[in-house]
Symmetry: D4
Subunit: 163 residues, 8 copies
């Protein structure tokens, strides 16, 4: 199975991004977690992405805050899909990271998820790997069913007045 | 080869979204273009997405403006990755469509591209299909090289003062 | 008397939305509180709304955060008026939910109230039911008078310097 | 049948608000169109709203731009539901009118629709009147079916390549 | 000397607006503090403003949050200058109150100060009263000098490294 | 009678600000129109404001776009009230000028009107001068009556269907 | 004299950025104009910046729109100051480019000027080169004097009523 | 070596701006820290900037919040480069200070860094002084290498699972 490469712009993003590793673990999708800044370690970022396909990765997740360039910089160096997670920082409530991640110019897409959307980034990666993988697709279907069940139980509690 | 399903919330989005079909055509990726509104034709939207995987689609592109729910509604009905294109309308400069598309709750990701980013939506779909397809990945690599060449020619013109 | 159907996208919205049930209780308007996600339980959402009129509901209140599609999805499935409450979440201060709820395309209105405006959503529902119900309208008039009295007592305290 | 009272803050809003009168006419719902500014003619605005219920109105539509206070001022004077249409003006792309209309304090709801959403305001008014009116509700159902048909024809054209 | 009328949309605004009364007290400018909501007590608001000039007021300060209509409603009922203080509430960081206060349509100005700018609202009122009052103008000059002195002492501390 | 000093940050603001001079002329209030940039001619700006009171001015109007510092700089140099008009420029729709004008720190208020609100700036200046001037206050009252009449004629036309 | 390196993310930025070359020419500061995209030609961008200091450049100007990463990417590769010009594109009025350029993380500053502020970018570069260059500093002083004179002539025209 | 002049609009900005002095100290760049408000002590601000070049300063750092005019006012009085630090205050999350600092009109640039970006302001000042100073440029290079090393150690920990 293809692996997922998770790159954090800073180790301070780990608190939010643990949700990504947990989702991937739940689906049994192997991943590698790396710290590489687009600005502080451009060489490392470049090396990580240049070798990603040959090292068996199928999708990239990049998380960064403020003027979040990491996802874009990684996307420029690969033909693999890159998923961007805008991280909320101490000012502007994450809007800066969102716009810096999603408003990519023509030719270099970044698949952007919600601000601090670490869980959805991982799910999106799993969906990508599941395009050709029936077993993984079935797990995603089960995951959906589990979500549905959880909501329906809450709804049942609401109906019964035990919420 | 897996196909790409392009769903427009309204035929008025076609002007912007032609760029998606052109990119897919360039890469030789088969696609189906459909009009289905999350709100006006929920049954059609549901049917399109419920059968998407079995009908041979590998990725979905959904385009909508204003309170753009289409991508989210499609994402809720499939385990395939859904790419959302926020369409700019006559007020708020596309910010409403962007936030309505990207800020999806946990469990239902939408891979969001830039406002009116039809070309990048198609490229992202191609990247997803190319995860397991070496030939397509090579075409993406060539596409990158062509973009690079085009910029470098402009740069050469700048250096020679003929821009 | 017609009932009010309150649908929450998540049970975490209940904390804010208790204000809706309290207002309805004060006016003696019967209501049903349900949990149904537009994305996680589309079938439940669809079923709830499809049968709403025949089950005796006269107005719907839908509460959701982030890319808040619930009100729109419900509105697409009924000819009853749907009131949307945008819920503030951890990023963007509620702006995402507001725009996702209010900027509905032509044909599918959502009667949107303020971010976290659970009390006003219920009042609006009561106003709708009171269009043809003189007794309920009188209660609304009393409610207005009570509000007025409360402010005037505060003003009196201000004048007397005992605020 | 109850009538709908449409109040414009300025006659310059008429261009946008014609869509409201057209929708009401289509549904055979009687309406009265008035010009009354919350700030320039507060007495007129007050008189219009104070007598609205007894004069046979069931719902109010108020349209205003910039610091749009009209809907709120009317809502303060009636127990009928008031629908607010934020009108886009020459600066800030309608955001000022949207926030001034929707962010109403506790006790005085305004049912807000999209910026320049004149058609949806009228549909919402019809929905309110149709709560107790089976014939009108059936017309709304037909309207929904017509919308659905129109989209499905566009979709058929898309499938046939004749869009 | 003319007095200043301070009107709060809610007694919860008092915490912020105490700064206004303190500044007026410092300048020896008499004031009256009232609670009157544009929406909950329109009659009280109207009466307060209609008699303001004859009761000896020279300037009005109005404070309100969210869709802050109070300043505009008061301004519509007087030829006295009305100063608006947008109050920050629990969502949108005060932007809604700012736009609702400042973006007044032609004919009805509101002299808007910063979000939560209670002190500056009072200073502005004093400046208005001081247009024709040499003694008050001199006090304002002294106030400026005091501010200047306070900053210069901080600067001296900075230079001496004792900050 | 006290005069009004109108200061434009650039002669390109004149197109918008003509509305100020027209309103002042209508009220017979003498004014002086000057061009002085806070940044390009700080000395001129300083001189204009330092002598404003002694030269017979009672209120200042300052208009500037982008990072609009002019009103604040003038306010720092006088005890007269300064009215700020944020001018919309080619980017950000006037939001930059609005925030730069209105969000003044404690001690230096600027009475801010709407973006491009030249007419209201002049009306506000007249209101300030009319605090102690019964004749001018009466003219303002007439102005209000004229506005009211104009709206009521439009309303009459609406009622008669001749709008 | 040190030169200024101007890098455009796309040749479409040239229309705005001509103002930079004109200002530099006016000051007799040599410059090189290059086209290099952070995403399409990362190698070219890297090479340009890696050799900038040794090739005699003293300051860099980088212009880009949307998710404008160019200035940040260049700044990561040099110890020279990098000036960023956010370019307005077809959506969001330049806000995306502004935030992507200015909100740089700790360690990699970008000296950001106004949206489309090509002239000021060049002036800032000249100011940097003039820190140690008395002749250039004198030219900047003359430039300031010329600006001042131009405004004062406009002011004279305003005073004489010939504007 | 040229010195850096740091000017704070208020001593309350010191908490954020300590990071500037720490960075300058690390690089051995002499600085002077002053408190001077554009509005409360315009004379002091003017004097500080008018003598800055002759007193041996090579770059200015100005920090202010809300309608942050300080950097612009200083820039208008010198030919030295002025670096602006927008300070986040209690409302609007720093957006007001950012726009007031960066959106400077033609002719008076301010080199703006991120909201609360005190460290980057100092680094930018060092970069400016290092244009002609090989030793300082080498220190900047070492600083970059240290940052790189720190990230790579974090990355090593991530690879080893000891993060």
């Amino acid at each position: 199975m293809k692996k997922v490469l998770i790159v954090l712009g800073s180790d301070s993003d780990l608190k939010v991004m643990r949700a990504s590793t947990e989702v991937l673990a739940r689906f049994g999708v192997p991943y590698e977690l790396r710290i590489a800044s687009a600005h502080r370690t451009p060489a490392l970022a470049h090396e990580l992405i240049a070798t990603a396909r040959e090292r068996g990765f199928g999708a990239i997740i990049a998380a960064a805050g403020k003027a979040a360039h990491l996802a874009g910089v990684l996307a420029s160096g690969t033909t693999l899909p890159v998923i961007g997670v805008p991280i909320k920082s101490s000012t502007l409530d994450g809007l800066d990271a969102l716009l810096s991640t999603v408003q990519m110019p023509k030719g270099i897409p970044v698949a952007t998820v919600a601000i601090d959307g670490a869980d959805n980034a991982a799910l999106l990666a799993v969906q990508m790997l599941a395009i050709e993988d029936k077993t993984l697709a079935d797990k995603l279907y089960e995951y959906k069913k589990d979500m549905e069940k959880a909501v329906m139980e809450k709804d049942k509690a609401a109906v019964e007045g035990t919420l």
